[in-house]
Amino acid sequence: MMRKVLVFLALIGFAFALLPLAYRAGVADEPNALATAYLERAPAELATANVVTAIVVSYRGFDTLGEVAVLFAATAGVGALLTKKRLGSAGARAPRKEATEVLGTAARLLTSLLALFGVYIFTHGHLTPGGGFQGGVVIATAVLLNILARPQSHLAHGLMTAVESLSGAAYVALGLLGAFLAWGFLDPRALPLGELGKLVSAGAIPLIYSVVGLKVGAELSGILEALKGDRE
């Protein structure tokens, strides 16, 4: 009871701190100077139609690199926690029911379609909504479907690891390319900017978003795989 009262008081206190802030800030009428600067400069400087992508991959690309690192660290943690050995017998599954033939066939078909869709999303991140993270999730969904359709099949774990590692390394390498060929680490202007609105444009942004997509896809698949309990 005492506890409930304290929880109630804590929440009231928190609300007391939070709500006035949300109210006082109100709704903005205009984007501020920084936002306007991004909106005006991103298409010109980086030939990127999607300003959010320009910010995420370039101006604040260091954040995104960190974000990839967060996901990477989490995957490593999940992988280390959920190994067969550590989960005891809960990891060693009895043979599961085989999925039906129909589902299997549908999954095979859908998997490649989904993967293709994922690739589309992250290669078009500079033009349309979406990008590496969204595309990565779609790829992971494809993997998930595969897992569901064929519970007994083990993912090509080595392949996943290789994709994850190499795409990560490629991200860092692209960043360094910016440092050597352009004006700084993660500068996408290392490659020709091209024309605004074209697929091959915006310098290294599509490339960066592609490796991010691959890495994220591999990592999320890794998390799903670990949760499934297949990690040695």
Partner: protein, 1027 residues
């Protein structure tokens, strides 16, 4: 300066590739990871070098080829460089010490380790508020992974609680950042801070959320249960990284956002920092588990650093340099020492573990020469200057509690009582050793920086190190070496000193040398004794050399430190040493306040205000063991090694006398001081304190069966006379005080040395187990006899002169009541003195002691030396009194004057030579008479007591002198109930109970901890509203 972005690229590149590299072998992965960490360290050190010595300026690095506000900036300044170096060092060393487990765990462990440290480096370097969030998340998420890497169940339990706390903190942080962006239009820290948008209440609330998140991460009381559980349960290496490296990064994050904070925010930081320091230490006081105890200490230390940073902003204690020196020094001290201690908690007890554990523990509690000492000094100095007494009292009291429990742990480690379940015997001590080395290096550097450049002041530490290196050698090699060092010190130091100091140098350094000599009484290396005793002797010399407040306090603390370790070395020394140190440090803190307030204890120093002098005097009286604060004394003197007891009683106690005299000399130098002295009541009070000490010391001494306890209480009593004499404060009084001090040095040295011989030969300290040793140990008997004659103040030895001087000056001053009590105390003293001779040397020899030999030469030689001096100054008092009276000079109330060999006062005269001659003649005549008339003497045979069918066990039935003065208890017993002991015990018990109650908050339930956090934030918000 190399662009730090390359280091991030390297860290990430290596971490990303590790799963592939690992297929080639774990050794390669480990090597790559260590190389990366080493690269960070190298970069940090190179920045530090470039900024400190290379003339480089703080530099901003843009990312993605853009600058702020568009892009994220990194900054490398002095603080960043220092933080980066420190956390990389700690991270690398912790990682090295974890290598066995990292080798056997999944590769995820190594990956998260790299990520965690990279995240912390990012926290240090970034200047962007949202980027700071990303790095906070990298380091915390990697830490969650790291905590779980070796799959300890306890670590998993704690890790989950950590995740809950971290989740709440991130939510707070994001809300704060986004509203700061809303109000300022910036994410860059510097641009946001200079924007007017944060001025109003809304901006202040936005900053509050940001600050609250960082505060929660910094583990303030009471929202820190999760952190303590993590320290408790995680792998020691991980705990070290979290407590050392992560805390450094977070503290720098706090330092970074200072420009955003208003006065109300700063007050919150200062308040919660101080609260954490006090509460953390209180909660630690009860803690038995080493890692949890270190966890409480971590919480406390971080609180202190936090408070210092905020207090500096609030009160302008001393600007940026001051923050580097104090907050930086405290943080560095904490992170190096704490990481080392965490790593040590899993090592098996051994000589190396103990030495390193000791070094790190002593550093942690802020003893010299470690960085914490200098930082605390500067901090208290600045606070004294601003008159922040309440804060000072809180900080010092909590520091004392911390010293108590940290050194209690060290005591049990040194005595081999570490918890065996936590040990990993084959782990190496490389990392803790390197951390200890770094601590020492930084400590010496800070001392040098603080202006302590006199090499002789550092000599104690140098000698300790030198002798510790040679510690495997026999004591017969080390003792002469140590004595030579003391002699060299004396040769270099004393010529420049004034008369008073030269006089004391004789007792302090000369005495030290004699006891070093006596340490050769046993063969073998006697490990630890020589380095500590040698260093303690030199630290006494350093006290005399001191020429500034800081150097005086430095030497004083060094003395406390080495004597603590000496007491701890005693066989049963664990408890007495702890009590000795607690009082020693308490006294030292009082003295520090006095010194900082302006009490000048060195030649030519100004006398400060009265309160400063009173504080300094109080500190010194604790060191002297005045009645009421004497609780530490009997245990410390009794349980130390026998030669150490002598050293403490005969030599080291004189350092306290010296300080008291120096204090009074400083006082009488200035008119205001003289006025204060002439007010009378202060001096009269001091006199009564001395007198009470003398009386009660004697009273306690008479009931002891333990020979060393008797001597310990006796020392306390005799020092009381010195204080009484000093309180008289005229020519006669001063002369008496110095005379008594020298006399005490001589006879107490002889007594302790003689008793050391007896105890060594007999193997017990209980008087009722001895008897009839006069035939076996005639020289020791002679030594004790002369000493007690000198002590009791009967002619012909110099003690008589001392008593005569004392009564003369008391009566001259008009203190008749005091004189009467002093006389009574002397009579009581005679009782226990009589017993020393009677129980030990006279009576029936014990059959078991039939083969006892005379004490070894190493003991008889210094006794003979002291005896010779005693005889010389007894026969020719002018040898002693001329220099003393020259030191005292023409003080008010000059009543003493020499006429030839005759010292006269208004009450009469005393001629030492004559009384010696007369006594010798009388004794000679008696002796001749005995020889002539008593030729029928025969020796009595040992009684053959036979008991029917049982053997007596109780001492009462086996020794005629057991409980010899028990009858007196009926008359005087009410005086000797140990009131002070009970007072301090209940005070300590109260503190401990308070701590026990506080730590009940930490229920172990992660959800309760989360509730603490939310309540804490809500309450802080309300307080901020009020401020």
């Amino acid at each position: 300066m190399v662009n730090p972005l390359y280091l991030f690229a390297a860290s990430l590149g290596v971490a990303f590739l590790l799963p592939l590299v690992d297929k080639l072998g774990r050794k390669l992965s480990l090597a790559l990871a260590y190389l990366t960490l080493a690269a960070w360290l190298a970069a940090g050190l190179s920045y530090l070098w470039a900024l400190s010595f290379g003339g480089a300026q703080a530099t901003l690095f843009g990312t993605a080829g853009f600058e702020a506000p568009l892009a994220i900036m990194l900054r490398v300044g002095l603080a960043e460089a220092a933080g980066l170096s420190a956390l990389s060092l700690v991270g690398l060393l912790a990682a090295i010490s974890m290598r066995n487990k990292l080798r056997d765990s999944p590769i995820g462990g190594l990956m998260t380790l790299l990520m965690a440290l990279m995240g912390m480096s990012g926290i240090v370097l970034t200047r962007d508020l949202f980027n700071l969030f990303v790095f906070l998340e990298i380091s915390s998420i990697a830490s969650y992974g790291l905590i779980a890497y070796d799959d300890r169940k306890a670590a998993l339990r704690a890790g989950f609680k950590y995740m809950i706390a971290g989740g709440i903190a991130s939510a707070l942080y994001l809300i704060g950042v986004v509203y700061i962006y809303r109000f300022t239009g910036q994410l860059n820290l510097d641009l946001a801070a200079s924007s007017p948008g944060l001025a109003g209440a809304a901006g202040s609330a936005a900053v509050f959320f940001l600050l609250a998140a960082l505060l929660v991460e910094l583990k303030p009381f009471p929202a820190n249960g999760w952190a303590i559980d993590v320290y408790h349960a995680a792998d020691p290496g991980v705990a070290g990284i979290l407590s050392g490296a992560s805390a450094t990064a977070l503290m720098l994050a706090l330092w970074k956002i200072l420009p955003l904070l208003g006065p109300a925010h700063l007050s919150l930081v200062a308040g919660s920092g101080l609260l954490s320091f006090v509460a953390g230490n209180l909660a630690g006081a009860r803690q038995g588990n080493a890692r949890r105890m270190l966890g409480y200490s971590s919480v406390a230390q971080l609180g202190l650093v936090m408070a210092v940073i905020a207090l500096n902003e609030l009160y302008g204690l001393g600007g940026e340099g001051f923050v580097y020196l104090t907050a930086g020094g405290l943080l560095l001290n904490h992170l190096l020492a704490k990481t080392g201690l965490f790593l040590i908690t899993e090592k098996a007890p051994s000589g190396g573990t103990t030495a390193l554990g000791g070094l790190l523990a002593l550093a942690l509690v802020g003893l010299p020469p470690f960085p914490g000492f200098w930082a605390k000094w500067s901090l208290v100095q600045a606070l004294v200057a601003k008159g922040q007494w309440a804060i000072i009292a809180l900080i010092l009291a909590a520091s004392l509690v911390e010293a108590f429990y940290v050194l209690r742990w060290f005591g049990s480690l040194a005595k081999g009582k570490a918890d065996e379940s936590q040990l990993e015997p084959r782990a190496s001590l490389f990392a803790p050793a390197l951390l200890a080395l770094a601590l020492t290096g930084f400590g010496v550097l800070s001392g040098w920086n603080a202006g302590l450049r006199e090499p002789l002041l550092w000599a104690p530490f140098a000698l300790a190190v030198l002798l510790y290196i040679l510690d495997r050698l026999s004591v017969f090699v080390k003792a002469p070496l140590a004595i030579a060092a003391v002699a060299a010190f004396g040769y270099l130091a004393t010529p420049g000193l004034d008369g008073l100091r030269q006089f004391f140098a004789l007792m302090l350094l000369g005495g030290g040398a004699l006891f070093l000599l006596s340490a050769m009484r046993k063969a073998g290396p006697r490990r630890g004794l020589m380095p500590l005793l040698g260093a303690a002797t030199l630290s006494l010399g350093a006290v005399l050399l001191a020429d500034s407040a800081l150097s005086f306090f430095f030497a004083w603390e060094a003395m406390t430190l080495f004597s603590y370790l000496l007491v701890l070395r005693g066989k049963e020394g664990e408890k007495p040493a702890l009590s000795y140190l607690s009082f020693g440090l308490g006294g030292a803190f009082l003295l520090m306040l006095g010194l900082l307030g302006g009490a000048g204890l060195w030649p030519g120093a100004p006398a400060g205000p009265a309160w400063a002098l009173a504080l300094a005097a109080a500190g010194i009286l604790v060191k002297l063991g005045a009645l009421g604060v004497h609780v530490w004394l009997p245990g410390a003197y009794a349980e130390a090694d026998d030669e150490v007891s002598g050293f403490l009683s005969a030599s080291m106690s004189k350092a306290g006398i010296f300080a008291l005299i120096a204090l009074m000399a400083a006082l009488s130098l200035v008119p205001a001081g003289r006025e204060a002295l002439n007010q009378g009541w202060a001096l009269r009070g001091l006199g009564w304190l001395g007198l009470a000490t003398a009386l009660f010391g004697a009273l306690y001494a008479i009931y002891q069966e333990d020979i060393k306890k008797t001597l310990a209480w006796s020392s306390m009593g005799q020092l009381g006379y010195v204080v009484l004499a000093l309180a008289i404060n005229d020519q006669a009084g001063w002369t008496t005080a110095l005379y008594l001090a020298l006399n005490h040095f001589l006879y107490k040295g002889m007594l302790f040395l003689a008793i050391a011989g007896v105890v060594q030969r007999v193997g017990t300290r209980n008087m009722y187990e001895m008897g009839g040793l006069i035939k076996k140990m005639p020289f020791s008997f002679l030594s004790v006899l002369m000493a007690i004659i000198a002590l009791s103040g009967v002619p012909p030895l110099s003690g008589f002169g001392g008593k005569w001087l004392l009564y003369s000056s008391l009566i001259n001053k008009g203190w008749y009541l005091e004189a009467a009590v002093a006389f009574f105390a002397s009579a009581v003293a005679f009782l226990y003195l009589y017993r020393l001779i009677h129980s030990i040397f006279l009576g029936q020899p014990k059959p078991s002691q039939a083969l006892v030999k005379e004490a070894p030469l190493a003991l008889t030689l210094p006794q003979g030396f002291l005896m010779a001096i005693l005889l010389a100054v007894s026969a020719f008092p002018r040898l002693m009194l001329d220099p003393i009276m020259a030191i005292v000079g023409n003080r008010s109330g000059t009543i003493l004057a020499f006429e030839g060999g005759r010292l006269s006062s208004p009450l009469g005269y005393w001629n030492g030579t004559l009384s010696m001659v007369v006594t010798a003649a009388v004794f000679g005549l008696c002796f001749v008479w005995m020889m002539v008339n008593l030729h029928n003497t025969q020796s009595v045979k040992q009684f053959n007591i036979v008991y029917a069918a049982e053997r007596p066990h109780t001492p009462a039935t086996t020794h005629y002198a057991f409980a010899f003065f028990e009858p007196y208890r009926k008359a005087l017993g009410f005086l000797t109930r140990e009131r002070a002991e009970r007072f301090w015990e209940s005070a300590g018990g109260g503190v401990s109970a308070l701590g026990g109650a506080l730590r009940r908050l930490y229920t172990g339930n992660g959800q309760t901890y989360a509730l603490h956090i939310v309540l804490y934030v809500a309450i802080l918000y309300l307080i901020m509203g009020v401020l």
